[in-house]
C-alpha cells in the first residue's frame, strides 16, 4: 500500500457524471506477474501516488518496482520492546525490592520481599518477567502498529464489490489508481493504463 502524508481530495474535471455514486478509481487487469511488474514501474514513473497493485501471490521485485519505502514498523517494535524491558524492571524493583510509596492513580507501597535468602534486588529473578514484557510490548506494537499503518480493520473496500476483481485470488494481476490521486484524470488515466498492456480497464465505484 502506498502512503501519502496528506490526503488530497480531487475533483476530477473530466468526470461529468452527476451520479450519487462516487468514483473510487480505475482498475486495470494484467495477465502475468511480469506484465504487472513492468506496468507498476511505469505507474510510479508517471508520478502517481495513490495507487496499489493486487496479486494472487507475492511477486518478487514488486515492492521495488512500486517504489515502496521500507516500513518504520521494526523501529517502533524495537523501542516498544525496550520500553517493556524497562517497565518490567522498574515494576519488579519497586514492588519487590523497595519500600517506597508512590502515587499511581492510588497510593501504592512497595513490599520488600525476602525469598530464600536472596538479595532484595535479585536481577536474575527479574529476567523472566523482563523477557516476557519485552515480548508482549513488542508483539502488541507489531500487530497493532501494522493494523494502524495499513488502515485496518476495515469492513469494506470498494474493490471487493467489483466482479472483475474476484480473479485476484486466482490468476489475474491488478493495478488500481485511485480517483483521489492528484494526477488522476478519468480519461487520461484510462488511456495510460491501456497503454501499459492492460487486458481490461474499468471503473470502480465507491
Amino acid at each position: 500500500m502506498t502512503t501519502l502524508e496528506t490526503s488530497v481530495p480531487t475533483v476530477d474535471p473530466a468526470d461529468s457524471s452527476d451520479d450519487a455514486v462516487k468514483l473510487h478509481g480505475l482498475l486495470a487487469e494484467f495477465e502475468s506477474p511480469g506484465e504487472v511488474l513492468k506496468a507498476a514501474e511505469q505507474v510510479r514513473k508517471a508520478g502517481y501516488r495513490w495507487w496499489d497493485c493486487c496479486t494472487p501471490f507475492p511477486v518478487h521485485g514488486l515492492d521495488g518496482a512500486m517504489g515502496i519505502k521500507p516500513t518504520i514498523l521494526p523501529i517502533m517494535v524495537f523501542f516498544a520492546g525496550l520500553t517493556g524491558l524497562m517497565a518490567a524492571f522498574i515494576l519488579q524493583a519497586f514492588t519487590n525490592s523497595s519500600g517506597m510509596t508512590v502515587w499511581a492513580m492510588v497510593w501504592v507501597t512497595g513490599y520488600p520481599y525476602l525469598i530464600s535468602g536472596k538479595p532484595l534486588l535479585s536481577i536474575p529473578a527479574f529476567i523472566p518477567v523482563m523477557f516476557e514484557l519485552t515480548i508482549l510490548f513488542a508483539a502488541l506494537t507489531c500487530v497493532f502498529g501494522m493494523f494502524t499503518m495499513n488502515g485496518l480493520p476495515r469492513l469494506h473496500h470498494p474493490l471487493l464489490g467489483n466482479d472483475r476483481f474476484r480473479r485476484v485470488t486466482d490468476d489475474r494481476f491488478y493495478i488500481v489508481i485511485e480517483a483521489r490521486d492528484p494526477k488522476f484524470f478519468r480519461t487520461r488515466t484510462e488511456a495510460f493504463l491501456e497503454s501499459l498492456g492492460a487486458v481490461a480497464v474499468e471503473e470502480v465505484q465507491d
Binding site: L37, G117, P124
Partner: protein, 451 residues
C-alpha cells in the same frame, strides 16, 4: 533482482570450483597448524608458563570441542535444510556439507584422551590433589576414583554413585558411537549430494530428506551425550540436564559463523558469483542470530536461573567456579560478547545484508564460540564449594583465582588445532564443486528473495 528478470547465473566450472585459488591459504594454515601443535607440545609438556598436565589436556579438549562444534553446526545446517525441504539454502548447502564432512576425522581428537588411558591409566598420587602425573584422572576426575576419594571426599560420594555411567569402558563405547555416527552421516550427505551433481537424480534428494529425520534424532542424542561426556564430566559431581542443548547452541554459533565466513571468502576470491547474494546472507545471518545468539542466551540463562534459585551446593559449585577471582570478569565478557553486543549489532535487516558487516559479525561470534568453550572447560569447581557456609566465604578465599586466559598455550593450541582444521577444510573444498549443481530446488535458491 526478481524471479522474472533474473539473469541466468554463471554455473561454469570457473565459478563453482575453487581450483588453486586458495592454495596459499591452505598451505599457510597447514604450516601454522603444525607450528602451533609443536609449540603447544613444547609449552605443555615442558610445563612452561606455569602449565600443568591438566591445563594442557583441558586446552586440547577446548580446541577439539571448538572444531567439533564447527562441523556439528554445519551438519545440523545440512540436515535441517533437508528436513524442512528448504529451497533458499541450496546455494550454500555444499560448503556446509564440506565443513560437516570433516567429522570423518572427529576420532582423531580422541587420540590424546586415549593416550591418557594408555599412559598407565593408573592412580595419581599427588600430595595436594593437583594432578602432576599422567593418567585419565588428569582430565576426567571420575576416571581416577581413588585420587578423588583421597583429595575430594565430599565429591567422591556423589561421583562414585554415578559410576554406572561414568566408567572408562562405557565412556569409550559411547565415544566410538558418537564419532562413528557423525563420520558416517556427514560423509553420506556429502557423497549423496556429489553423486547428484553427476546424475541430477531427484530420488537422491528424496532419500536425503527421508533419512534426515532419523539423523536429527541421532544427532540430538549424540551431541547431548558427547557434551555430557567430554565437557560436563570434567566436573563430575555437577550436572545439568540442559547442558546438551547449551552445547548444541554453541555448535550453531561456531558452525553458522564458519559457514558465513566460508561463503563470503569464496565470493571474495571470485567463486559463487551471482549464485549467492544478499538474500542468502540475510538468511544465514538470521540463523546465526536466532540459534547462535538468542537461543544460546535463552538456554544459558535458563540453566543458570534454575540452579541459582534452587541454591543447592552440589549444583551451584559449578557456577561458583566461574564467579571467583578473574572468572567473574570473564563471565561478564561472555554475557556481553556472546549476547548483548551482537544482539544489538545484528538485529536490523540491513546488517545481515551487508557482506563486510556480516563477515565481521561472524568472526566476532566465532571467537566468542571459542571463548564460551574456554569458559565451560577451563574453570575448576573450588574444593570448598560444598563445605563453605556462605557464598562470600568462597569468593574471598579464591579472590586471586586466575583464569589463565592470556596463557600462550591457549593461543598456540588454537593456532594448532584451528590451522589443521582450516587446512583440511580448504583441501576438501578444492576437491569438490562448491555448489549442489543439480539439486532439484537450485532454481528456487537462485531466485530466492526475502519478502
Amino acid at each position: 533482482m526478481s524471479s522474472i528478470h533474473v539473469a541466468k547465473p554463471d554455473l561454469s566450472e570457473a565459478n563453482v570450483r575453487l581450483g588453486s585459488a586458495a592454495m596459499g591459504v591452505q598451505q599457510g594454515a597447514g604450516l601454522v597448524g603444525i607450528i602451533g601443535l609443536v609449540a603447544s607440545a613444547v609449552i605443555g609438556f615442558g610445563g612452561m608458563f606455569g602449565t600443568t598436565p591438566t591445563f594442557l589436556m583441558k586446552s586440547w579438549t577446548q580446541n577439539y570441542m571448538f572444531v567439533l562444534a564447527i562441523s556439528l553446526g554445519a551438519l545440523f545446517f545440512v540436515f535441517i535444510q533437508h528436513l524442512t525441504r528448504a529451497g533458499w539454502s541450496t546455494t550454500v548447502r555444499r560448503p556446509a556439507e564440506l565443513i560437516a564432512a570433516n567429522l570423518k576425522w572427529a576420532w582423531v581428537g580422541l587420540i590424546p584422551f586415549a593416550a591418557l588411558w594408555l599412559s598407565g591409566g593408573g592412580h595419581v598420587e599427588g600430595g595436594d590433589g593437583a594432578h602432576s602425573h599422567w593418567g585419565p584422572g588428569v582430565l576426567f576426575p571420575w576416571a581416577d576414583l581413588e585420587a578423588l576419594k583421597a583429595h575430594h571426599p565430599a565429591e567422591y560420594d556423589i561421583v562414585a554413585a554415578k559410576s554406572a555411567y561414568l566408567n572408562s569402558t562405557f565412556f569409550w563405547i559411547r565415544a566410538i558411537i558418537y564419532v562413528t555416527f557423525w563420520g558416517v552421516v556427514s560423509t553420506w550427505f556429502l557423497r549423496t549430494s556429489i553423486a547428484q551433481d553427476a546424475t541430477g537424480d531427484i530420488r537422491l534428494t528424496e532419500k536425503m530428506q527421508k533419512w534426515s529425520g532419523p539423523v536429527a534424532i541421532g544427532f540430538g542424542l549424540t551431541v547431548t551425550f558427547a557434551a555430557f561426556d567430554w565437557i560436563m564430566s570434567l566436573s563430575p559431581a555437577w550436572f545439568s540436564t540442559m547442558f546438551g542443548v547449551y552445547f548444541f547452541c554453541g555448535c550453531c554459533t561456531c558452525g553458522f559463523s564458519v559457514l558465513i565466513i566460508s561463503v563470503l571468502r569464496l565470493q571474495s576470491v571470485g567463486r559463487l558469483k551471482q549464485v549467492v547474494n544478499r538474500e542468502h546472507y540475510q538468511d544465514m545471518g538470521k540463523l546465526l542470530f536466532a540459534f547462535g545468539m538468542i537461543f544460546w542466551a535463552y538456554i544459558g540463562f535458563s540453566q543458570y536461573m534454575l540452579i541459582w534459585y534452587a541454591n543447592i551446593p552440589e549444583e551451584t559449585g559449578w557456577f561458583l567456579g566461574r564467579q571467583i577471582g578473574g572468572w567473574g570478569t570473564l563471565s561478564f565478557v561472555l554475557l556481553f560478547g556472546h549476547f548483548v553486543v551482537p544482539f544489538v549489532a545484528l538485529i536490523s535487516k540491513w546488517t545481515k545484508r551487508l557482506s563486510w558487516y556480516l563477515l565481521a559479525a561472524a568472526i566476532w561470534m566465532l571467537f566468542f564460540g571459542w571463548f564460551d568453550l574456554y569458559w565451560l572447560i577451563m574453570p575448576e569447581v573450588p574444593a570448598d564449594a560444598m563445605t563453605a557456609k556462605t557464598y562470600m566465604e568462597v569468593v574471598e578465599a579464591h579472590a586471586d583465582a586466575s583464569t589463565h586466559i592470556f596463557n600462550p598455550l591457549n593461543y598456540t593450541m588454537l593456532a594448532g588445532v584451528g590451522g589443521i582444521y582450516l587446512w583440511m577444510t580448504i583441501r576438501r573444498m578444492r576437491a569438490s564443486t562448491l555448489l549442489a549443481l543439480r539439486d532439484p530446488r537450485l532454481h528456487e535458491g537462485l531466485a530466492f528473495e526475502n519478502q
